[in-house]
Structure formats: structure tokens, C-alpha cells
């Protein structure tokens, strides 16, 4: 697979603060790369540097094998960007907005018309194409924002938190649209705070903190970095302290928390942890309503590596 983006030793400094610190990574053709990290971790700075919206102190950036510069219009013609903030003209209808942004790339009127119609279809705005942005709900507005960024059929797409504050219907529509773009062969850089979206969409993830890569790889590879294997929650039981102390002594148990009638157990590596717990509860005649067992999430990995939640 060809590398679409190659970032080498990228460093961006603001006086004494290093927003991006010696960052190196590559994005392969046709993959969806999830760029994760809490606010201020350097995600947006990295993207802005890649797009030549920001000067950087050191390093090099290549896109499609060529050096990315502010006037590299031959590279820019194949890039689409959907920023977190909605960037549309209030004075133009849905159709005219998409047509305008597509027109910045595509001069041929006939081709542009076809592309605009396809973009409207992709984000499911067929019924709203004559509406003005003020008349659209938050979710529809986000869909319009995406359509404006991808109408010219770019080969490389940057999606910066495109599903923030949208209704579930619009979120599903947006995620389906992103999958369709990937199926068409587009390479996508996706930043988000929603772990479930990353798990559904991304082939590979990079987790950033303080401008550095703290983990990268496929979802499974990154999750394997977590020291825990399983998280179990037991609902609505009345436990004495002696039972909690007993459970703490179980094999592979890392941490036990009992709060508001919910028992929360984190297990380190190992198998049959849930079976052991269920057997113990049965033996001791301890009543319970529901039991949940979860695999570690990316957020758990992040929490372990940095001591912070991804959404901090």
C-alpha cells in the first residue's frame, strides 16, 4: 500500500510550549486513521500543519509523495476537509453552498452539477436542498458541512469531529456516508472523542497526548497495551465488607470498587474471571440483578497511559 501522508519529525512550538513534539507517522492509501487525544493534545495543530494552515518549526510533510506547501494546488485539489465548526454561507441555500465549495475545485459546470447532486445524496439532504442553513437542525447542518467538504470527490479527507452534537439519526447517516467514502477509495483522517465511532470506522488509531504519540496501531493492537483484560459490573446486590475483601483476593483482580449497590471489578490478564465470580456469588447466596462484562476500551488504554480520560 502506498503512503498518502508521510509526517516526519514534525515539531510545532508556541514560544515555550511544544504543541507538537517530534511527531512521525504515515497514513496508507484507503485506510481510515483515527486521531485521538484529549483537548490540547495537538490533534488540530497536527492537522493544520499538514494542511499548511500553520507554519511549523521542524520536520517534513509529504502528501501523495510531494512536499506539502501553501501553494501546492496540485495536492490541494485532491484534499477535502470537514472542520468541526460549520463553515457555510448563511445567505446561500444547501445546493448553492455545496455548489460554491465544489466550484473552488471543479470548473466544469456539468461535472460540478453531478458531483453536487451526489454529495447531497450521500449525506441524505435531498429534501432540504433549497433550504437555507438557518432553517436546518444541528444534525442537518453538520451533514451540509460534510457535503461541502467532500463534494469534489477528494482522495484524502480530513474529518474533524464531524458528529459533535448531532442527533442519533444524523450520526448514523454521517457514519454511513464516511464508510461509503472509504469504499470509494478515499483515505480518511478522522478525529473524534467518541470511542464507539473509532471502533466502528477506523482501521488504525494514533493516540496523542501533549503533542506526542503515546500509542498507535490497529484497535486490537492498541487495546492490547492495556494491563486489564476485563471489566465486570454487578448491579443491585447487598454486600458485606467481608465479601468484598474475599473478591479482592481472587486471581487476576486488579481493583474492586463497591458504590451505590454496584460492584465494579477490573481484571488483569487471564481467562474465566466471570465464571469464578458467578460461582462465588452462587455459593454465598448473594442476590444480584444484572451482570455486565466489558473488554477494555481505547479510553481505558488512554487512562492507563496518561491518567486522563480522552474527553478531558
Amino acid at each position: 500500500m502506498k503512503n498518502v501522508i508521510e509526517v516526519k519529525n514534525l515539531t510545532k512550538e508556541y514560544k515555550e510550549l511544544k504543541a507538537v513534539d517530534n511527531l512521525s507517522f504515515a497514513v496508507q492509501e484507503g485506510e481510515i486513521l483515527g486521531l485521538l487525544g484529549p483537548n490540547g493534545s495537538g490533534k488540530s495543530t497536527t492537522i493544520n500543519c499538514i494542511l499548511s494552515l500553520l507554519n511549523f518549526s521542524e520536520g517534513s510533510i509529504k502528501i501523495f509523495g510531494k512536499e506539502m506547501k501553501p501553494d501546492a494546488y496540485d495536492i490541494k485539489k485532491d484534499i477535502g476537509v470537514v472542520f468541526q465548526d460549520v463553515a457555510v454561507f448563511e445567505e446561500l441555500s444547501v445546493y448553492d453552498n455545496i455548489d460554491y465549495f465544489c466550484g473552488l475545485y471543479i470548473k466544469d459546470k456539468r461535472v460540478r452539477k453531478k458531483y453536487v447532486e451526489e454529495a447531497i445524496q450521500l449525506v441524505g439532504l435531498e429534501e432540504f436542498k433549497n433550504f437555507f442553513p438557518k432553517k436546518l437542525s444541528g444534525g442537518l447542518l453538520r451533514r451540509l458541512n460534510i457535503a461541502c467538504g467532500i463534494a469534489h470527490k477528494p482522495k484524502l479527507i480530513f474529518l474533524d469531529e464531524p458528529t459533535v452534537a448531532v442527533d442519533p439519526q444524523s450520526r448514523n447517516n454521517i457514519l454511513d456516508g464516511i464508510k461509503m467514502l472509504r469504499d470509494r477509495g478515499a483515505t480518511i483522517i478522522y478525529t473524534t472523542h467518541y470511542m464507539e465511532e473509532v471502533e466502528i470506522l477506523c482501521d488504525r488509531v494514533i493516540i496523542l497526548d501533549k503533542g506526542k504519540i503515546i500509542a498507535s496501531g490497529t484497535n486490537a493492537e492498541v487495546k492490547a497495551l492495556a494491563s486489564i483484560e476485563e471489566k465486570v459490573s454487578v448491579e443491585a446486590i447487598d454486600l458485606d465488607k467481608k465479601y468484598i475483601d474475599e473478591i479482592k483476593k481472587f486471581k487476576n483482580v486488579d481493583e474492586v470498587i463497591y458504590n451505590n449497590n454496584i460492584l465494579f471489578i477490573r481484571y488483569k490478564k487471564g481467562k474465566n474471571n466471570l465464571d469464578t465470580l458467578l460461582d462465588y456469588l452462587k455459593e454465598e447466596h448473594i442476590k444480584y440483578n444484572k451482570i455486565y462484562s466489558e473488554r477494555p476500551t481505547l479510553n481505558d488504554v488512554f487512562l492507563e497511559l496518561t491518567g486522563k480520560e480522552l474527553r478531558d
Binding site: 494552515l53 501553501p70 494546488y73 490541494k76 463553515a87 445567505e91 473552488l104
Partner: protein, 382 residues
């Protein structure tokens, strides 16, 4: 075409405030033109005079009274001191002449009879005083040299009947030039306000931070994009200028078909280009649509007042005019004011006009340079 087409669509969306603004400006401009009285023609005025004659109405006394009657409005008031004072107080009369008893006799005997007067002290009273002094000076001159009363009166009449013929050689149509100057001075506000309001409104959409970010990362050359935007705004400014020029032909008529009219038009065109670049600069600085009205008021209204668009320059204090030098409006209005005094165009009379226009062109270049600097700085987020 994408940029221009979108420019027109955004302009179309803003049409209601733009039309309202233009109608408002035309109404006040047109109304002021029609109601302004800038006439420079003069008619002689006659003071109101009361003559109280204690002498006989014969000879030189009769001649004096006749002369005053001819050149003033004689007021008849009962010869009571109280009523006379009241008339003077209420300005029913400007000047009162008391011809003393034996005036004729004393005059002919060279006894210098004294004529008492009462006056309101205003300019009409001064006019009456000048009239009386003139008569008495001439009468005394002839009285010294002639012995016959008849001859004295005849010579006085001959002298007073002689009138100096004053001919105004200027062919300037001052009334219409005054109106044209007033109109084009007012366009200072119309052009500035129109350009700033519309261009800032449109640029606030195009230069919206997020839209601009999307434009910068697009494959359209950013300089070309800015050039297209400037061209679209230029087209609007020229249409606005043509509209006001056309309106001047309707409101001012024939004067616009003269060389004066042509220079008013050229001057306003140069100023329009300057207003365009200033508006483009402000549009690059202002992103808040709510601030645009305030900016129009501060810049367009402020410079119009400071530079004499509404109040003639001659009424403005020197300190204000000194400050006004740093504004392009001053040089635009200065040319308009100069134009109404120029009778014939030659190198000497046209030179100050060209210099004023050159100053406006320099302002235009400065605004373009500053806009370019700001635009290229905004392109990169450091």
C-alpha cells in the same frame, strides 16, 4: 465565475437593507438639493425711516425730504416721544431724522445746522445713516461754492442721480455650481456609506473565519480568489457610482453637461475607487455583522462632518480642517469647492484639482497595500 456568482447571491440576500439605505440617502440628498438656498444674487433693501420736520417744507429742506423718501420707506408715527421710542424699540422704524427749525435758513447762511437722529444700530440704520451723510456732504460742498439755492439743489440732484455702472463679467453659473457642489459633497457620504456598508456585509460572509479556512485549503489560488472578490466589489462600487452620477444629471440638469460637470464626475470616480479600497480594507478587519452599522457611522458620517460634506468648509474651525487633511474626503470635497470658483480651465486652474486627485490616489494605494499585508497575515495562523 463561482466567486462572482456567489457574490451576487449574497448581495441579493442583502438587498432589503441596501435598498432601504439607498432610498434614505437619496431622499435626504435630493431633499437638501431642492430646499437649499445658495443664491448669490442681491437686491437693494430700503430702511424704514421716520422724518420729523420742524422746519418749513421748502427749498433745501424739501429736497432733503424728497431724497430720503425716494430711497427709503417713510414711516408715519404720531409725533410723541413715547410712541417714537416704542417704534424704535420694536423695530417698526430703523432710523429717525429730526430736521430742526430754521434748518434751511441756517444751512444757506453756513451755520452748519445739526440734524438730530435716533437709530436702532442695525445694518438698515447704518444704511439710512450713510444716505443722510452722503446727502449732507454733497449739499455742503455745493453750498460753499454756490450762492443760489436753486443752483445748489440742481447740482445736488445731478450728482445724486449719477450711478456707477457695475458690470459682472463672470459667466459662472454660480447658482447651479453651488447646487452641484452641494450634491457632490453629499455623495461623499453616500459613496462611503454605500461602499462600506455593502462591501463589509458581503466580506463578513466571505471572510468568515471558517469559510476562509476552507477557501485557503482549496485548490483555488488564494491571490486569484482575493482578486476575484475585489473585482466583484469593484463592479458593485462602479454601479453605485454610476447610479449617483445618473441621479446628478436628473437633479442638476444642464450643468452636468459642461466641463465643470465632467470634472465633478471624474473627481467622484477617483473618490469611489478610494472608498472601495477603504471598504475592502475594513471588510478584511471586521467579521462581526452587527458592528458594520457602527463603522459606517464612525467613518462615513464622521469624515463627512469633519471634511465639510454637510457644513461648508468655510464654517469649520481651522483645527478641524487640519485634522481633516488626513482623510480622503477632505481632498474630494476640496476639489468640489474649488470647482465652483473656476471660470475657465487652464493649466493653472486645473493643477490644484489634479493635485487633490493625486492625494486621493495615494490614499487608495495605501489602503491596497495595508489590505494586502493583513490578507497575507490572515492566511497563516501562526
Amino acid at each position: 465565475m463561482t466567486v462572482f456568482r456567489t457574490f451576487l447571491k449574497v448581495l441579493n440576500k442583502c438587498k432589503t437593507p441596501i435598498i432601504m439605505y439607498t432610498v434614505f440617502l437619496i431622499f435626504f440628498g435630493g431633499f437638501n438639493i431642492q430646499t437649499s438656498d445658495n443664491s448669490t444674487n442681491f437686491t437693494a433693501s430700503k430702511p424704514d425711516i421716520l422724518i420729523i420736520n420742524k422746519d418749513c417744507e421748502k427749498g433745501i429742506t424739501k429736497n432733503l425730504i424728497h431724497y430720503i423718501e425716494k430711497n427709503s420707506n417713510i414711516i408715519d408715527i404720531e409725533n410723541k416721544e413715547e410712541k417714537i421710542n416704542d417704534a424704535l424699540f420694536y423695530r417698526d422704524v430703523n432710523y429717525i431724522i429730526y430736521i430742526p427749525d430754521h434748518f434751511r435758513e441756517d444751512f444757506l447762511n453756513h451755520k452748519n445746522p445739526k440734524i438730530e437722529v435716533k437709530s436702532t444700530g442695525d445694518y438698515q440704520a447704518s444704511l439710512a445713516e450713510m444716505m443722510l451723510e452722503r446727502y449732507m456732504k454733497i449739499a455742503n460742498t455745493y453750498n460753499k461754492n454756490l450762492s443760489s439755492e436753486k443752483k445748489i439743489i440742481k447740482n445736488i440732484d445731478d450728482t445724486l442721480s449719477k450711478q456707477a455702472k457695475v458690470e459682472i463679467t463672470s459667466k459662472l453659473d454660480t447658482d447651479h455650481l453651488e447646487k452641484a457642489t452641494f450634491y457632490y459633497n453629499f455623495t461623499n457620504y453616500c459613496l462611503l456609506a454605500g461602499c462600506i456598508y455593502v462591501i463589509c456585509l458581503i466580506l463578513s460572509s466571505f471572510k468568515n473565519e471558517h469559510i476562509q479556512k476552507r477557501t485557503i485549503i482549496s485548490s483555488m489560488n488564494y491571490k486569484e480568489y482575493n482578486r476575484k472578490l475585489l473585482l466583484s466589489n469593484s463592479l458593485f462600487s462602479i454601479v453605485l457610482w454610476l447610479f449617483y452620477v445618473l441621479l446628478s444629471f436628473i437633479l442638476l440638469g444642464n450643468i452636468m453637461f459642461t466641463l465643470h460637470g465632467l470634472i465633478y464626475i471624474i473627481n467622484s470616480f477617483v473618490f469611489t475607487l478610494c472608498a472601495l479600497t477603504l471598504a475592502f480594507l475594513l471588510g478584511n478587519l471586521v467579521s462581526n455583522k452587527n458592528a458594520i452599522n457602527g463603522i459606517v457611522n464612525v467613518i462615513a458620517l464622521g469624515s463627512s462632518f469633519l471634511c465639510g460634506a454637510f457644513v461648508p468648509m468655510e464654517y469649520l474651525p481651522n483645527s478641524v480642517l487640519t485634522i481633516a487633511h488626513i482623510l480622503p474626503s477632505y481632498w474630494f470635497i476640496k476639489t468640489n469647492e474649488l470647482l465652483k470658483t473656476i471660470e475657465s480651465f487652464n493649466l493653472e486652474t486645473i493643477k490644484p484639482i489634479i493635485l487633490n486627485m493625486a492625494v486621493i490616489v495615494i490614499f487608495t494605494i495605501i489602503f491596497v497595500v495595508i489590505t494586502n499585508i493583513i490578507s497575507s497575515k490572515k492566511r497563516k495562523i501562526n
